[in-house]
């Protein structure tokens, strides 16, 4: 979707603010918001791209202004309300109308989760269409759903740097469908993307096969 989350290359933003850079949560309530969001997400193992899309759907002014983990918590609450675990009335009143049937995440589950990498790779169903070194063109348009081709990298020509195996297509996952495709790292010249940029600096993106066509 053409939302405010798609920030790459957008102009008008000022200097990077390095305040609190060595404080992992910068504030107790942010820490709490993080732990709550993670706990809520784990109760129903929501697909990661559904979580991302639900965050992208936060009102634009809130997306740009509310604290980071506050947005995670709002996203997790939206997931839980959508799934029927919490009702909008309960949020409005602050009062529980009954206990949920799902089991909450326990501390031991957390300790296991933080030491267990998730493997997103899926079995290959077809040979990859592109090889390392191939010239490819990215899609000219996005769509109103979730996608991982940033707007600044649309309709651009680049070179395949690596084939990364077969991964679930985020666009489908955020619609509740599983469709795996070959994933590539593609390198683009920054000077091809931004008119004021010259020189040989490069940008790489990890892009699914259906985002790409042979150039």
């Amino acid at each position: 979707m053409d939302g405010v989350h798609d920030l790459g290359g957008k102009e008008g933003f000022g200097p990077v603010n390095r305040a609190h850079e060595d404080d992992p949560y910068h504030g107790d309530h942010n820490a709490r918001a993080y732990g709550l969001a993670m706990s809520i997400r784990a109760t129903r193992a929501y697909p990661i791209d559904w979580f991302r899309h639900v965050r992208e759907l936060i009102e634009p002014t809130d997306y740009l202004t509310r604290p980071y983990f506050d947005q995670w918590l709002q996203t997790a609450m939206a997931l839980a309300i959508d799934a029927g675990d919490v009702s909008p009335d309960e949020v409005a009143s602050g009062k529980s109308a009954g206990r949920v049937s799902v089991a909450p995440l326990r501390p031991d589950d957390v300790r296991r989760a933080v030491t267990t990498p998730v493997d997103f790779e899926r079995p290959a169903t077809a040979a990859p269409a592109f090889a390392i070194g191939d010239r490819v063109r990215t899609a000219a348009h996005g769509h109103s759903g979730h996608t991982r081709l940033p707007a600044y990298a649309r309709n651009a020509t680049g070179t395949v740097l690596a084939h990364r195996g077969t991964h679930p297509l985020p666009d489908a996952e955020a619609r509740g469908e599983e469709r795996a495709e070959p994933l590539y790292t593609v390198v683009l010249r920054a000077a091809d993307l931004f008119p004021e940029v010259s020189g040989n600096d490069e940008i790489t993106l990890d892009l699914w096969e259906s985002y790409l066509a042979r150039a």
């Binding site: 979707m1 920030l7 790459g8 290359g9 957008k10 933003f13 000022g14 200097p15 990077v16 603010n17 390095r18 609190h20 850079e21 992992p24 949560y25 504030g27 820490a31 709490r32 993080y34 732990g35 709550l36 809520i40 009102e59 509310r66 506050d70 709002q74 609450m77 939206a78 799934a83 919490v86 309960e90 949020v91 602050g94 529980s96 009954g98 949920v100 799902v102 909450p104 326990r106 501390p107 589950d109 933080v114 030491t115 267990t116 990498p117 997103f120 759903g145 991982r148 081709l149 940033p150 990364r164 790292t185 390198v187 920054a190 020189g199 600096d201 940008i203 790489t204 990890d206 892009l207």
Partner: protein
């Protein structure tokens, strides 16, 4: 069951915006109290998430990986080939290390990591991302003006050094393998690890000091 309906979600967000306290600390309190009462959340699990990334998992892990790569060419080769397996061999596997990639700085190249679409970060090996990494300024500017961003971090790159920005758009997670500073011959792994900054592993720091701060 999730609806996967963006219109329904947008409605829910508007409802949350109207009915939750706007002040972040009060908002968190209101939600936690409701969810604990509903049995959806165990407050001790919340504590466990916080503790994991306060005490145990942080940039010291990544620094150990870098120091080992500086000392052991075979480990460095493995790290550049399959960083997820390399860090697992050190017992440092965690969230977001499953598809970890290490990218190497050289005298003529500089690597910088960003996630323009959200905030993807190898937090299993570097800990929680710094606030600036998740903020709009960095996400917007890192791809378009990386040299300007680097100058704000005190890194003034010569034109002869090429910049490659890694935009983390899939489940791959990137960490930068910085160059070993000159004058550190003879230092052991612990002493070398103390020289490695978190920002050097993101790419917003480059020339590491041969002496620990």
């Amino acid at each position: 069951m999730s609806s996967f309906d963006p219109n329904k979600i947008a409605d829910i967000h508007r409802h949350l915006h109207s009915h939750l306290p706007p002040e972040p600390a009060l908002r968190v309190k209101a939600i936690e109290s409701l969810l604990v009462e509903k049995g959806l959340v165990d407050p001790q699990a919340v504590d466990a998430w916080i503790e994991a990334y306060t005490e145990d998992i942080g940039p010291k892990r990544g620094a150990r990986v870098v120091a080992r790569a500086w000392l052991d060419p075979a480990f460095k080769a493995q790290l550049l080939d399959d960083a997820g397996a390399a860090v697992a061999e050190m017992g440092l596997q965690g969230q977001a290390t499953g598809h970890l990639k290490a990218v190497e700085n050289t005298p003529t190249t500089h690597n910088l990591v960003v996630c323009t679409l959200c905030s993807c970060y190898p937090f299993g090996i570097l800990g929680m991302a710094p606030a600036w990494y998740k903020a709009a300024e960095y996400r917007a500017r890192a791809v378009r003006d990386p040299r300007g961003v680097l100058r704000e971090f005190g890194v003034d790159l010569d034109e002869s050094i090429a910049v490659r920005v890694w935009d983390s758009t899939a489940e791959l997670r990137y960490m930068v393998l910085p160059q070993r500073p000159a004058g550190t011959e003879g230092l052991d792994e612990d002493a070398l690890a103390a020289l490695v900054t978190r920002n050097a592993m993101i790419g917003t720091d480059r020339d590491l000091s041969p002496e620990a701060a």
